[in-house]
């Protein structure tokens, strides 16, 4: 599992080892046998950095999920709670601890807050009268989790909501902390670029934190050349559109969480002879998706229309390889064939899985409704009819399609028109409230607050300017052998990635005007390096850029970034 982390241009295993070590150190502080009680949300992220075996070596004997009332019986000396700093979780913990005290031998309790301790939570524990029961109360700064050779994630799903709706910038603080950890491991990043209000704040925090550490000079040779901080609200358009890469579509249809996807089991039933179709699995099939799987690494970023041909080509190669056995005559040849078998079988298994997934996706993408939706999206993105009520959206509401789908389309239209005309907006609102319930007044207000849905002000639509300057819409798109990032949305080039592309060449100075139209400030900061660490650039040597999305990133954007890094130079992307 860890091997794939070192494929990229930056060896992310270093980061993984650092967080693992910290975990081991904490576990060793609580001497003796232990049970871990998990905030269920955390098991996913933790699974990416450690396996049960690691915990077991540190005398973790039992693991439970955090639930109300009593803890399950466990004959251990320590009970450790791994939790996010949430008040409601504190109540459950207190309930656990209080019901524990009444029976049997006393045990030691500990809390590990991920990623930060919170005074408010400790206050709550104090109010509930259990704070004193905990021997160790610590924090575990699991900020950035290595996902893949070129991808880190903070796995904070709510960052956008917290920043823009609730005005809670904790996640920005975590992002800055995470970037500081990263710099401690990979060297100071000499140049920081950014666009957007939150980007500005994260940069400010980083600079401030650096000042606080002036005592210890970081003397690691920098691995990254640039850091690009991008606010999600600079580009609200991209996440609203339907992603059309293989990985993107898997996410759109089934949702990828902590690099795992759950799929309907029917297609994956083990085909054993004589099984007669009995005991079909009812539990969802769970698969991990990352570049450790050779085939997946090849197809994940392709436009879905190009996946089929790769799969069928692979199928031919593999069956040809299996046929080889007939040609193997000598003992030596047979031996060689056998030695390749495990690899071939793994390849066959992976091919079977992805063929099944591709079939599932194809069922969706070939449906009439999917096509209609895509047509409307593409019309909006290329600037057609964005200023009036759209028939298809109206139909969707009338047929009570999922509210998410309707809202995504309405918001897309709003973004592509720099806000909707008041009349159009009111019409949509009314239809939505009457069909889906008046309580969605709150939903709509939240969307307005986040800037996803708004009335047009000043009567001017800036989107065409942005579209033309940044070449967001490409008419001639090649899905099979792409020449431009627009292939990931079959025509639309993600704005965020276009910004990253233009930054590296020819630089943002060329698009000052558009940058001013997009929300938030853009800036550039330098972090001076001691002379010994300054890179002497060889001609033709590539730069490594870390692109940090504040508020989430789509798989299609990651695909586009990977495409860019193949095209010209090194890249490394990441999300929060």
């Amino acid at each position: 599992m860890a091997a794939h982390l070192s494929y990229g241009r930056v060896n992310l295993n270093v980061l993984r080892e650092a967080v693992r070590r910290e975990l081991r150190e904490f576990l060793d502080k609580c001497a003796g046998s232990k049970a871990i009680v998990w905030d269920e949300y955390l098991t996913g992220p933790f699974g990416l950095i450690a396996q049960y075996s690691l915990l077991k070596e540190h005398e973790v004997e039992k693991m439970f999920t955090l639930k109300g009332s009593r803890l399950p019986a466990a004959d251990v000396k320590n009970i450790i709670f791994f939790v996010r700093p949430r008040l409601e979780l504190m109540d459950i913990i207190a309930e656990n601890v209080l019901s524990e005290d009444r029976r049997g031998p006393t045990r030691d309790f500990h809390i590990l807050f991920v990623p930060r301790r919170s005074l408010l939570c400790e206050q709550r524990l104090k109010d509930l009268g259990v704070l004193g029961s905990f021997i160790h109360r610590e924090e575990y700064s699991l900020d950035l989790i290595p996902f893949d050779g070129d991808l880190l994630s903070m796995e904070s799903e709510c960052a956008f909501k917290e920043c823009y709706l609730e005005g809670d910038q904790t996640s920005l603080y975590h992002a800055a902390k995470g970037l500081m950890t990263l710099q401690a491991l990979y060297g100071t990043i000499p140049q920081i670029f950014g666009k957007g209000e939150c980007a500005r704040q994260v940069a400010n925090m980083m600079i401030r934190m650096k000042r606080e550490f002036t005592g210890s000079q970081n003397s690691i040779f920098p691995v990254f050349d640039n850091l690009l901080l991008l606010d999600r609200n600079v580009d609200l358009l991209t996440p609203l559109a339907t992603q059309l890469t293989y990985e993107g579509l898997i996410d759109e249809i089934y949702g990828i969480q902590n690099s795992y996807v759950k799929l309907p089991p029917e297609k994956f039933a083990p085909k054993k002879q004589g099984d007669g179709g009995k005991d079909l699995p009812t539990e969802a099939k769970k698969l991990q998706l990352n570049s450790a799987e050779e085939l997946y690494a090849e197809i994940r970023d392709k436009n879905f229309n190009a996946v089929g041909s790769v799969l069928s080509k692979k199928a031919k190669v593999i069956s040809a390889a299996f046929e080889e056995r007939h040609n193997a005559k000598t003992v030596g040849e047979i031996k060689q064939f056998v030695s390749q078998l495990p690899h071939m079988q793994a390849a066959r298994g992976s091919l079977a899985n992805h063929t099944s997934i591709a079939e599932l996706i194809k069922d969706v993408t070939t449906s009439e409704d999917f096509f209609d939706k895509l047509t409307v999206e593409q019309e909006f993105m290329s600037g057609i009819d964005t200023d009036k009520v759209n028939n298809y959206i109206e139909d969707c509401i009338a047929q009570k399609h999922s509210l998410i789908k309707v809202l995504r389309l309405v918001c897309l239209q709003s973004v592509c028109n720099s806000g909707l005309k008041q009349k159009v907006l009111d019409y949509y609102k009314r239809e939505i409230l009457q069909t889906y319930g008046y309580e969605h007044i709150l939903t709509l207000h939240n969307l307005e607050k986040a800037g996803l849905l708004k009335p047009q002000t000043g009567g001017r639509n800036n989107y065409p300017t942005i579209r033309k300057t940044l070449r967001l819409w490409m008419d001639d798109v090649n899905e099979q052998n792409p020449t431009d990032i627009s292939y990931v949305y079959s025509g639309y080039a993600p704005l965020s990635v276009r910004l990253a592309q233009l930054l590296s060449r020819p630089g943002w100075r060329s698009i000052e005007e558009v940058l001013r139209i997009l929300p938030g400030p853009h800036f550039e900061e330098r972090q001076p390096l001691p002379t010994g660490l300054q890179k002497k650039r060889q001609p033709g040597e590539n730069r490594v850029t870390l692109v940090f999305f504040l508020g989430g990133v789509t798989f299609a954007e990651i695909a586009a970034l990977r495409f860019l890094s193949q095209l010209e130079d090194g890249g490394c992307s990441e999300e929060t």
């Binding site: 860890a2 650092a18 049960y52 005005g167 950890t181 009457q434 007044i441």
Partner: protein, 462 residues
Amino acid sequence: MNRTKGDEEEYWNSSKFKAFTFDDEDDELSQLKESKRAVNSLRDFVDDDDDDDLERVSWTGEPVGSISWSIKETAGNSGSTHEGREQLKSRNSFSSYAQLPKPTSAYSLSSFFRGRTRPGSFQSLSDALSDTPAKSYAPELGRPKGEYRDYSNDWSPSDTVRRLRKGKVLIFLKRTLSKEILFRELEVRQIALRHLIHFLKEIGDQKMLLDLFRFLDRTEELALSHYREHLNIQDPDKRKEFLKTCIGLPFSAEDSAHIQDHYTLLERQIIIEANDRHLESAGQTEIFRKHPRKASILNMPLVTTLFYSCFYHYTEAEGTFSSPVNLKKTFKIPDKQYVLTALAARAKLRAWNDVDALFTTKNWLGYTKKRAPIGFHRVVEILHKNNAPVQILQEYVNLVEDVDTKLNLATKFKCHDVVIDSCRDLKDRQQLLAYRSKVDKGSAEEEKIDALLSSSQIRWKN
């Protein structure tokens, strides 16, 4: 085993065995002790990596041994987990094996005891580590948290405030200051204010939150925040009363109307629900006996309520609260929406006469005409969804104006006559010929096609 020497040293220097230094090389005893511990701790590396390579995956796809898999595994104490136990057992035996220094391993003792730094190589990590191991290596990780907190700083820099955020100062101020003073102080400190709002939301102090909004004159936010509370009220009557209190609040003009509607709707639903529950349990009304209600109508959206009323109360006079016409008038439901909903409801009941009446308009001369504000193609789709018989479908397919759409729909829903007639009208012999293969052998449709194809009256275009 692709661990580099840099990694070893990194591990060595930053591991917990700080007491051990290379300087007391004479002390053989301590050296041995340490090395033994070090070897034991190698398990961490060796074993983990092997896990990774030999990763096994259970049916659900969780790698065997992953955390979420193991929670299931260790939480259940029953004996139903042989596979997992086996797996763990084998792993354990493996790891005990791994405790022995393997001569081929990259982690042989000698490499651990080689000097600290070798000039030139791996200057990156190891050099940085040699002086102040844990600290500069990852200052974030090693530094005592105490050094990091600095409450005495000013208010404004945002990250200082962030530390205070869930922190003592705000809580303290909230406890000690009177509201008026606290609010006034915060008004000029926007960031701290945001944190207080967030804090109040988190601890659920709705009253103080509303007071704060009122003080700040954030009227719309105040109104919304108040309105949001209705979601927590389960009892329909109480919820209705609560919504009533929302009506006068300073929402935008548009929203005010919606809130008013929300209240009226719930009021209606309560009346309808009480009445219908009574009717249903009495068992006297045919419609309720034939189609028992699946759920209560309370808190359903307006369109759903309209559907319900078209389903159970279609013929009622406009004066009753539960009649569809009354709902349409009260909530100013647009024609389109009304027709769609009524159509769906009546089609579900297979009340084709009602469907027919829905689209029949009489003009002032008394002629009747079919008209659909939603377009007949939509009508056909909805009828088909409700399994309408072909004769009915045919009738409406024929009313579709656009010829291509009509032909498509007719083909899709197997309205043979319509397809055949359309082909005839279009004089499209090829298409008719192709369609012949789609109808049943020896059927009336086939005969009709044959008759047309052999007819000399038609001047085919192809």
